[in-house]
Amino acid sequence: MTHRPVLKVENLQTRFKSVQRGKFVHAVDDVSIELYPGEIVGLVGESGCGKSTLGRTIVGLEKATSGRVLLDGVDLSTLSGGALRDSRRALQYVFQDPYSSLNDRQTVGEALDEALQIDGIRSRTDRDRRTKELLDQVGLADVVKDRHTRELSGGQRQRVAIARSLAVNPRVLICDEPVSALDLSIRAQVMNLFLRLQKDLGVACLFIAHDLELVRQAASRVYVMYLGKIVEHGPSQELYDHPSHPYSQMLLASVPEADPIAERQRKVPLMVGEVPSPTNPPSGCRFRTRCPMVVDDCKQQVPPAFKLSPGHDAACVFAKDLHRGKRSALLEAEVAATRVAALAS
């Protein structure tokens, strides 16, 4: 990859004031990611790990405590006025729930027209032409433009929401669980739309999701996040074949299979304990309180990201062993789980 990233996030940190006085919720802590033009990148992790906050901070819906967001090499925090508005247009957000992200009282045409006016298209005929083009891009018939958004199905609404974010010619789409509110049979249609947009328009996409299989198929690279930090990052195939952080291994091994015979034989790694509070995260490695492989070092310092293969790195002191020896952590996890079960009974 010799070309420049369209979006670069450097050591981003987002903290919120906690209800406990004087304390902070460390939602995103020292996160760096990159997005190249025309690529779909996955961001996975459990609820509360900060993945949505990261997305929201990138587009400016939350204020970063420190760190930088660079769009085409320009630090967004140095911009103001018109230049900032221009950059905001280049970064668009697709929300999870298409039932609350659209105005029920608008027709599809009005919803798109509004976005086009904001984009500065003065002429009515130009806007109409562009509306038609946008509907076509997201696979909706032209007649839909006179219908109210409330009359549409979930899948159609999400298409309208996507068309609306495309109206301003964005360079980057931040998609926050864009298909999880949709029915199974409709998901594939919307996912294929993302694949097509990426090819046809060259839009880069940060795909935030908890559905690991969906991300694997759509994304060329994946970031795994735990408690505000990126713990592993790599090309999808490589990361799914050789997960090298104990957390990634557990996450991947937790996905159930639809084949009943395989599912019954599958060993479920039981996660030990609870996700610690982001108000008071553990010292050193954040996963250490639940990690089956924890050693003293993990408490002392945050493990650096170890390079495992081109573009693949994991922040675990055992990353290199895990990368080679694959599932060692899991086997130990099963032992730990049996121990927990024995304690409970």
Partner: protein, 331 residues
């Protein structure tokens, strides 16, 4: 009657009348669940899977007139037409419920111990003290560490997974014979989902309960259920043992659903498999097969009359598709 299944639903039809419209979310569905057995009911939103289970027990929103026909026999007793006071004795006692969102299923301003104990007091006529002891037992049963301390906590102090365990403990407090779990793991993360499913399965076996698992996730079905009913637009499209239906789906809709699940072997950046078209909106009863407009195999008879759910070539699997049943599509 030793042979009668614990729950025997036959030809259940639910009509809902609101001020504005009349809809039929459930149209002639039949299934049975035996003691110690788990039945999964799978379908998309609006397929009737939730209404089907809750309407016979009087759990419907106010302002809706519900009219039921057909038969729902639970433990040899007909539930349809039973007066509300009688239904109330069964609801929460012999039939326990687990809902999708554990936060809204719990009372946010009452301690967890009290909420569980309340169920035992109400349904098992226990004294408050005995009920508290029972609550402690139940919290241990659902595998929560430090149970005594947990009983004094409020729901907001717990994580999603722990809350769902509390909801399960509450559902078990009345010593139910049947547990109805509506999307019990949908609001949870995959790592927690695995634990909760395992717990439910384990409890079901240990307490020899029957379980109805309402879900849209085939992975959940594969791991937990014995039998499955696939719902499409208010009707059952396919019914049979999980081992057969998931491995060799017959109805074109079931096939499409299972085919749509992303697989490890799918190349990165490849097209996602799905179903064409959109699911029908709920409305008046449909004349033919509701899936016909989205079906690759449809023939004129599909839209002419409603296909009955009849045994396929494999006698244990029932399919509502004339094309499959006549062997015109490779089944």
């Amino acid at each position: 009657m030793h042979d009668e299944p614990l729950l025997n639903v036959s030809n259940l039809t639910v009509d809902l009348l609101t001020a504005k419209s009349a809809i039929r979310p459930v149209d002639g569905v039949s299934y049975t669940v035996r003691q110690g057995e788990c039945l999964a009911i799978v379908g998309e939103s609006g397929s009737g899977k939730t209404v089907m289970n809750f309407a016979p027990l009087g759990l419907m929103p106010t302002g809706v007139t519900t009219s039921l026909s057909g038969s729902v026999r639970f433990g040899g007793r007909e539930l349809i037409g039973l007066p509300e006071q009688e239904v109330r004795k069964i609801r929460g006692k012999s039939i326990g419920f687990i809902f999708q969102d554990p936060m809204s299923a719990l009372n946010p301003v009452r301690r967890i111990g009290r909420q569980i104990a309340e169920m035992a007091e109400l349904h098992l006529d226990m004294t408050p003290r005995a009920a508290e002891a029972r609550a402690l037992e139940l919290v241990k049963l659902v595998g929560i560490s430090d149970p005594a301390a947990r009983l004094r906590q409020y729901p907001h102090e717990l994580s999603g997974g722990l809350r769902q365990r509390i909801v399960i403990a509450t559902a078990l407090a009345g010593e139910p014979k049947l547990l109805i779990a509506d999307e019990p793991t949908t609001a949870l993360d995959v790592t927690v989902q695995a634990q909760i499913l395992r717990l439910l399965k384990d409890l079901q076996r240990r307490l020899n309960m029957a379980m109805v698992l309402i879900t849209h996730d085939m992975g959940v079905v594969a791991g937990a259920a014995d039998n499955i009913v696939v719902m499409y637009a208010a009707r059952a499209a396919e019914r049979g043992p999980v081992d057969k239906v998931l491995v060799k789906p017959r109805h074109p809709y079931t096939r499409g659903l299972i085919n749509a699940i992303p697989k490890r072997e799918d190349p990165i950046g490849s097209q996602f498999r799905g179903l064409p078209g959109i699911p029908p909106t709920l409305g008046a009863p449909f004349k033919g097969c509701a899936f016909a407009p989205r079906c690759d195999f449809s023939v004129p008879t599909c839209t002419a009359s409603r296909p009955p759910l009849v045994p396929s070539a494999d006698g244990s699997v029932f399919v509502a598709c004339p094309v499959v049943n006549e062997g015109r599509a490779a089944a």
